[in-house]
């Protein structure tokens, strides 16, 4: 009874909230965004940064601090998850090995995922993509073999090193601006020729750092959760 009353009250509340949101959204100028800031950025991004992907320019230059924060959040979450899950360096996973298809495909996929991830990371300032998207693919490249061979030990050592240095590189590039007397995260190295792989100054470097950091962090996170959810280890701490 009590559960029904609660569900009913919740449903009423949600309907009310929905009506309110619909009314509010109706009043918004869809398709004619005010673009108070966006207009200015769209006009000057290429000149300022040399990046042809304006979203990347926003992400790394105009709102670079958000992106550093974003990287930091993944890092906090990975650290906290490591703390919660006991942070065992080597999980003693004993799951049954996967079937033939997954095992064969994992070996095949690994190099392709690696190349695709790297491509998306280093072309982030030119075309859709970037450090986060490419990093996620890189993480998948390392996670697919783990799915295929759950019993194989995960070595978090290399990932820790890559993760630490990649994160530090981002902050150091930012601090380099301060050393030159400017602000944090000032774009360095000049804009270059738009459309070239080596253009947009320090932006590709930032994306490379993000790609490596996100890749190693996501892979580590997934490996930790997979190991913790392993039936062989269930109830160990109960």
């Amino acid at each position: 009874m009590k559960g029904n009353a609660r569900a009913f009250a919740s449903a009423l509340f949600l309907i009310g909230l929905g009506l309110m949101l619909v009314t509010l959204f109706e009043a918004l100028p869809f398709g004619g965004a005010p673009m108070q800031v966006g207009q200015a950025i769209a006009g000057r991004a290429l000149e300022d940064t040399g990046a042809t992907n304006i979203v990347s320019a926003v992400l790394l230059a105009y709102r670079g601090l958000d992106t550093l924060g974003e990287v930091a959040i993944l890092f906090v979450a990975a650290t906290a998850a490591g703390l919660v899950l006991g942070g065992a360096g080597r999980a003693e996973a004993q799951g049954t090995p996967a079937g033939f298809i997954l095992r064969a495909a994992a070996a095949l996929l690994f190099p392709f995922l690696l190349v695709l991830g790297a491509y998306i990371v280093i072309h982030g300032h030119l075309t859709p993509g970037g450090g986060f998207q490419g990093g996620a693919i890189l993480a998948a490249a390392f996670f697919v073999p783990l799915l295929a061979h759950p019993a194989s030990p995960v070595n978090h050592g290399v990932a820790t090193v890559v993760e630490a240095f990649a994160g530090a590189v981002f902050v150091v590039i930012g601090l380099a601006g301060l050393v030159g007397g400017g602000a944090f995260l000032v774009p360095l190295l000049g804009a270059g020729t738009p459309g070239d792989l080596f253009s947009a100054g320090s932006l590709p470097l930032l994306y490379l750092a993000i790609g490596l950091k996100v890749g190693s962090e996501l892979a580590g996170l997934m490996a930790r959760i997979a190991a913790a959810g392993d039936p062989a280890r269930q109830g160990g701490k109960a």
């Binding site: 309110m20 009314t23 509010l24 009043a27 918004l28 100028p29 965004a33 005010p34 673009m35 108070q36 800031v37 966006g38 200015a40 950025i41 300022d48 230059a61 105009y62 709102r63 670079g64 601090l65 958000d66 550093l68 924060g69 974003e70 930091a72 959040i73 890092f75 906090v76 979450a77 650290t79 906290a80 998850a81 490591g82 703390l83 919660v84 942070g87 820790t160 090193v161 993760e163 630490a164 994160g167 530090a168 902050v171 150091v172 930012g174 601090l175 601006g177 301060l178 007397g181 400017g182 602000a183 944090f184 995260l185 000032v186 774009p187």
Partner: protein, 487 residues
């Protein structure tokens, strides 16, 4: 090296840099990682203090990240209020620093990230950037909340995470509404557009959504149900920092939103309502609690409610009262939790504990008197300022709030004196006495000394805070400092 305005990013960048590298250092030696983390925290406090003179000369230090002037880029705005809370956060994290323990490096890393996130929260002048730093702070506290490695710790932390993430989604929806309506995220830019584009139901909804989001960490009604659970299940030093400092950082964000974006009477009324309910509900629940951790957790909700009431009073008198309540609570509540750490379990079981450790009991009495508001302790002045601001502002809502706070103070006095009575009772024979080691009690004694020092120097402190509050409540000054060609 002389510090320029651009160095206001250091309280964020420095701890982030060290936190990223800390896992590597921790592989070499846990002790080294601990030392490095503590030195970094100290460095942040020192940097904030070094920036202080420049900030008080020019009103505030403004740095546009990447050299992209507002409103295109993200700005950091370091006025005295923000720097004060950065110092408070760094000192608090240092005072309650993690000891040698299991997974020490991970805890230290989270500690540093809490510092970076909290500093960014008060320094940032960009709505979405504030959201990002709020999330760093939040995620770090989820991890720390579970760091006792007990089932209750995991459960409390998970329920806190779910509530907080729900709030964050609300806050993000509010930010999206603001952006959809105004097309900018810079607080100074928004403050100039607010009168035109953030009024009516749209503005009010955005404000309510953001208050519900940021209010999770600010322990505001109704998104504070995590408080008693987490404060009981987390290690005490985590609780002390969360209740003492981190909650205030979220309140500072709400203050900025109010001053700059939402000077709408309906928005102020909403915050007043939440604050008054928080005060009443918090003190009543504290009265009914049977252990000290819960008592102090609920009392913390009530104190944050006081701040919300103060900030909802328009003009700088309310801001002043809110900052005074915040600073007072910042000193008192962590000290209370230091005492609660040893005096665990049922309050009734503490009979006579005050006789075996007179120093701790004396500290408890001092803190209680101040938080109740007995002159001449600082808590009295804070509450007096709040009453004066509310009565000067007038209006039925404010006067009702004053009545509620007075009634809540009576309840507060009742349960605190009840504990004092138990502490000085006669212990039943045959029970091992609870004693504090000096090391355990030291942070509490230090905070007690700060409280006494504040009592002695209440006049200069009041003048300083008045200037700070007047500046923080001045939206026009904020806009002119941030936007180029303003002035």
């Amino acid at each position: 090296m002389t510090l320029t305005a651009h160095h206001v990013v250091l309280p964020v960048a420095l701890p982030l840099l060290v936190a990223f590298l800390l896992p590597l250092v921790g592989r070499l030696s846990d002790g080294l990682a601990r030392l490095l983390a503590q030195l970094t925290t100290l460095a942040v406090a020192v940097i904030a203090l070094l920036l202080w003179p420049a900030a008080s000369d020019g009103g505030a230090l403004v740095s546009a990240m990447g050299g992209f002037a507002a409103p295109i880029g993200i700005v950091f705005y370091a006025d005295k209020l923000a720097l004060m809370f950065v110092v408070a956060l760094a000192v608090g994290l240092l005072l309650f620093r993690p000891r040698r323990e299991h997974d020490s490096t991970k805890v230290q890393t989270l500690w540093l990230l809490l510092l970076a996130g909290g500093s960014g929260l008060v320094l940032s002048g960009d709505l979405f950037n504030i959201f990002v730093f709020y999330e760093i702070t939040a995620v770090a506290t989820y991890g720390l909340g579970a760091s006792a490695h007990t089932g209750a710790g995991y459960g409390a932390s998970l329920r806190y995470l779910l509530l907080s993430a729900l709030g964050s989604a609300f806050a993000l929806l509010g930010i999206a509404l603001v952006y959809a309506a105004a097309g900018t995220l810079n607080l100074a830019d928004l403050s100039q557009l607010a009168g035109e584009r953030l009024t009516g139901p749209m503005g009010l909804t955005a404000f309510v959504l953001m208050v519900l989001g940021f209010g999770v960490k600010a322990e505001l009604f109704p998104v504070n149900t995590w408080v008693p659970e987490v404060y009981t299940a987390a290690p005490t030093r985590v609780t002390a920092v969360l209740a003492g400092v981190v909650s205030k950082l979220a309140m500072v964000v709400i203050l900025r939103l109010l001053v700059l974006l939402f000077q709408d009477p309906a928005a102020l009324g909403f915050l007043l309502l939440l604050g008054a309910i928080g005060v009443a509900a918090g003190e009543l629940a504290a009265f009914r609690s049977r252990d000290l951790h819960r008592t102090f957790a609920y009392s913390s909700i009530a104190q944050l409610g006081l701040m919300a009431v103060a900030f909802s009073i328009p003009g700088h008198a309310g801001v002043l009262a809110g900052i005074a309540v915040a600073l007072h609570h910042l000193v008192v509540k962590p000290a209370f939790f230091v005492l609660a750490d040893r005096w665990r379990g049922e309050i009734a079981g503490l009979t006579g504990a005050g006789r075996t450790s007179p120093l701790a009991a004396g500290l408890f009495v001092l803190l209680s008197l101040s938080i109740i508001g007995i002159p001449p302790l600082p808590g009295f002045w804070a509450k007096l300022m709040l009453f004066k601001a509310a009565i000067d502002a007038g209006g039925a809502g404010n006067l009702t709030a004053v009545a509620i706070i007075l009634a809540a103070t009576v309840i507060e006095a009742a349960y605190l004196f009840r504990v004092v009575g138990i502490l000085y009772g006669t212990a039943p024979a045959g029970r091992p006495p609870l004693r504090f080691t000096l090391g355990e009690l030291a942070p509490g004694l230090l905070l007690g000394a700060v409280l006494i020092a504040a009592t002695v120097s209440v006049a200069p402190l009041g003048d300083g805070l008045t200037a700070m509050a007047a500046d923080s409540a001045d939206a026009a000054a904020y806009a002119s400092r941030v936007l180029p060609g303003g002035n």
